[in-house]
Symmetry: D3
């Protein structure tokens, strides 16, 4: 029995290690961008759903913003939609946008809702359109033209958030519901626009004055010369971008984090969604996981 | 100026005609099944959205449950899904259910949300999965077998509601939001099931102890021998079904109304969705519209 | 049936014309000075009461301040009260003040309360004395003496409001009651004072930060050279007073409106109480009625 | 200084004698019928107003229902109204009712409101018409006809309360206001009816489930054979009425008390309004004052 | 890094094992009798305080009732109090009671308060006297006299609880405070009485309709023939008492548990306070610890 | 009967004399330092308890901070504790502190709680440790060394308050409980420290923005040349201290009062606790008692 007890005590010690974090995050809001492998592999999907439900029972308010995953392309393919490309970027025409919205809001979102409900939570799926949550406007990509001048390219129904009304999220949180948000928003003119999920998560974190913004990625975090950097300040990041040590797809992610931090979010994290329970590991353990970006 | 004033006064008299109905329905909940032509023609869509927004500003709580319209079949066709048919009924397999859910929740629902928001309301789209709103179980259609015995046919992922938790609707209503609900629900085992929109509306009306259930149809109401009957009691309906004067697609609609009335909903209406503003006409004018079914 | 439906739809369109105004005024407070013909003719009395009840059910908060009408003089006459006159102004002595208060608070106020209750509202009659609503002090009329100097004339128990405590009005509004207020107030020393109903309405509108102040009159509005002017700014009014185009009894009315607007009331209206439903016409129709005075 | 201190301590002991009563009545409602000498003599008026204000500050909720006093007759006389009499009872025709309402609601009520406000309370004057407080119907007096049969006499606009909606009183109490109520009510048909102030107080005490009903009279209480009886039970009273030891104007008063007690009011008192501070003496001292009627 | 991650995931899995218990106990109240070794050894004291703080952050409401430990005897000895003994039981005279109360309420209670505050909780120390929490009466021990008859022995100021008013506990819980209660109560006559801590905990659990009552002891639980029995029903216990397999000091403990269960407490536990974190192990792990007594 | 009535009226007049004070102090908080003779003599103890209960029922919020009285020394003596003295000051070592805390929190505090409960109040005993009420740090006494320089003397576990969190007091007040506070607090490091009761009362009065701070003493108030001074301003006090007219034990009391006044407490009083009901006399009578210190 001693051994059994020792094992029990070890369990409890692991729970108790979380106590200072519970005290610290009690009643706080954490916005999580959910996507990549964590949204594809069955085990990771289950562990993510458990994390979200546990956070809610621990008195923390998680808000999930999800991406689209590979399902959008798959449906576009099945429908043989003709897609125009400009400089390598797919143009989102109306037919494509319809597919994007159906998959994001009608399929991916509901799969997440189902899974979290099975684990014991009370999720409510929303898109940016619901309850007037997010207003967007068309985004024109700025590129360098052949003559060296700046040029704006119209990629179709792609938008960026111009304002967020957090009332619907707060209403749901107060009653114990967990908001699961798909990155689609409406323009003032009533157009449906596709939004980058990272920046949607960032904008919502700002509007909620969230305590944390967590971006789940398919990398261990921010890698500099192949090494994970666990803590970075604003100045570090600007330096690494200049030297090209942060580049490619990581740039919009760190910029989204910096934007959130500049607007009052306390901490932003880029973590490895491929590790089971990475969200809980980040929030409840001493070592955390991935890269933390802080003001400074 | 007199004429102008007369015209103004006439307007105001029309508004005042609504006063007793406002007094009567103030703070009450009205569940509306939205579908058919009213969900297809642009003018009718706009007039329906205006009706819903106006009701909310008049202090009445509308809850909209929508059907799927022709869009589901259109996407199924585009995707060349093989559909099995049993005795003339399409079997909803998983691939089909996925399409049904995407179209209902990701397309039709969001179109209604967009339109109502444009008219000045604060709609929030839900499916039966959100906030644990509705739990369903597989529905087996009972038919007469060739040997004359009763036989149950499995039509696949088709369900009927077994319980409704109205908390998410009440939470949204309290804060001024308008719930727009797509007829999809989850079974206890986590299966996604397609629900008949009329019966979904009926089940939600029961759970909310709604004051009214309104089914929008593409007929003027209940026609007996080609004549609209404006008021019917339970006994009348049983009689008309026996004599075959109520038949075909109208039978499930009147049964849904009777079920609601037996469970505490005060009045059920089958009205003509092809008439612009038919919802407001029903609620706010002396004559009303369509057929009223009452206890008795 | 088509014709019937067209007629129904026309009704509903008239109601829908009001929708933007409902959205705009939802939850707002509108103070209405009620008097003149609208308080004498049976049809106008009934239409006014309907307007007030409808506004309340539309989610707008009306506050009614009424004048005295011809009933005060009639009772003074019946009682053969000797009245002193100074420079043509009747002096309000104690016996007269008693009659004024009895008629205003015990007769006119209660008639309005009765009528609004019959129409389905929940009115509560108040005078400025109730709940410490209004504190006044004696008003001395400044006139030019024979020697050209300014001279103050004591007209007896006539007062002007020095402070308003809106708590009793807010308490009643929160519970769905409609305050009906008679223009009598108490001085700090406990004297009962007669207050001009227009300025009482203005002072209450200020204290409530009302959205609108509406003065019902027996003219179509502000007439300049015999023509109704539908919109005026502050500067316009000062000009018209200088040129004498606004004169006589209209001067205190426009000054009361200007005072309200200077203190935060958004819009002030002088409208024709002789037109049935003039209050609703002003609030709920595109064209409005009478003259609007705005900041500028 | 000792003597001064002894005097101070005596004061404090008198205050402390009230402590058990404060504990007992904290948060309770006490309905007081105010009338007679207490409403006429200046000193008694002032002492009554002080009592009401003190009760409110002591955490007790007083509700005052007042009678009319001699002022009604005086105004009727001044106006030379012709009054019809039937079997010695004045018939209240419309002209008389108008005077009654003006005096009660526009004069007497406002005098009480003024006085209580001067003493530091926040009174709000109401009649039974305000906020739908009381609904009445015409009262037909049953008398014995000459042939010995029972006969009903129509005394005009005299009514008896058929229902009380206490919501307006509770709304005012919650915000610290003191309701002062004049005994006028409306019938369902909109007629204004004069109500006996004792029975109005009794009906309101019932609707509020008041802890105490206190009737102020111009006698020391219930006198039996010239002796004050300080405590009576229901059976005692029925006996005294049979023997004629309770008779005349005291009968309706004791019946009003019995009615209140039968409907849940805990205690009813008939006390001497001619004694300064009789209300406080009743509530806060060991000996009390007047006659107490209890269930039994 | 894999190994590190495996370790982190194991931690998280231990936390997640608690999820079903969190869902189950969220918002529930658990009363814990604290005493014995757990209140003496430094490590156990610290682990107990951590358990209590963690429970509160997990959304569970712990209520702690403590015993006195060895400190009472130690102070009695230092003060050389003469103690009378009757049949081997110490009689609690006034001088002794004073010491008991001082030690329990002024020393032991405050030590627990200090420790829990250091760990991050918001404890508030109470005795049964505070906020009128517990009323007790003198307890007379029933023994068999030499002549075989039943005899009552007066052990002095020893009491048993006759009523509990849980309002002070509920008030503190609502605001996030943790009540720590010492087993002293007052009789109606104002006498201070010493209460057995187990029965005090049981009485409070009953009054709060607690979900669980946990008695910390210095044994592994209920031992029958030297073996721990992890689950017992009422009938089992009555049997074991008859056979003498439950005896001595364990009898009052199981009787206290049975009393609580009969009065609506769902589960009662007798667990080993010598195991660090035994409270958390009981509440949050699959295996639990000690003996569970249930209705049946 | 007249005489009886006159006596009753006199009583009531004494109560009414308190009315302006009730109006003024309604809902306000008054912090009272309780100690000296008032905590020793039976009659004074009873009268103090009555005062506190009455204040609460009068709608005023009393907070009691008590001292230790002679009981601490008596227990120290009984335990033969060796006490070190430095320059005539007793050093509070750990053993002494334990006794101090036990007596203050476990004996004196509970006696006050018992007495106030007997009188009908709902007292809750707290020490500065409960609910994180007060944080203190060690206090080093500054004295002049032999060489004329300033020197700090460590008197052991004596502290001064560095912060007060009034939330636990406000929580109790809202529910009608009366906080009784013993002057013990914890340092950030978890040390138990003894606090001067006067300064503890002052610090709590500041944190609560109390309306009044009352120090009960065993003198008539502030005596200057043997004469009671009933009202003093800040400048007066500084003068009297310079001239030595205020000296000795009165200096810390007036400094505590000045500190409170500088931090927003409206009035501070030093009154004679030897006079029965001195607290009520101060608060509810025209003449008051003792010395009042005001800003100025």
């Amino acid at each position: 029995m001693r051994t059994f007890m020792n094992h029990q005590s070890e369990k409890i010690n692991h729970i108790l290690e979380a106590l200072p974090y519970l005290i610290n995050y009690s009643g706080k809001t954490i916005v999580i961008k959910y996507g990549g492998a964590a949204m594809v592999e069955e085990e990771l999907k289950a562990s993510f759903a458990e994390d979200i439900v546990l956070l809610k029972y621990l008195g923390i308010n998680p808000v999930v913003v999800h991406g689209g995953g590979p399902e959008i392309n798959s449906l576009i393919k099945s429908l043989n939609l003709n897609t125009q490309f400009i400089r390598g970027h797919r143009v989102t025409d109306e037919a494509t946008m319809e597919v994007v919205e159906m998959v994001l809001t009608g399929k991916v979102n509901k799969q997440i809702v189902s899974l979290i409900q099975e684990k014991g939570g009370k999720p409510v799926g929303l898109s940016g359109k619901d309850g007037g949550l997010a207003i967007a406007e068309k985004y024109l990509m700025e590129v360098e033209a052949e003559d060296g001048k700046s040029q704006k390219i119209d990629l179709g129904l792609v938008g960026e958030i111009t304002s967020v009304d957090p009332n619907i999220i707060l209403t749901l949180q107060r009653e114990g519901f967990i908001p699961i948000i798909s990155p689609v928003a409406m323009s003032k003119e009533g157009q449906t626009l596709n939004i980058n999920a990272d920046t949607m998560a960032g904008a919502i974190a700002q509007a909620l004055h969230a305590d944390k913004l967590i971006l789940l990625t398919d990398t261990p975090g921010i890698l500099i010369d192949g090494q994970l950097v666990t803590g970075l300040k604003k100045v570090d990041i600007h330096g690494y971008i200049k030297t090209g040590q942060i580049s490619g797809g990581m740039i919009p992610k760190v910029e989204c984090c910096l934007g959130a931090i500049d607007s009052g979010v306390k901490r932003a994290h880029i973590i490895d969604g491929r590790v089971p329970h990475s969200v809980l590991i980040e929030i409840l353990t001493n070592q955390g996981i991935g890269s933390l970006i802080e003001q400074g």
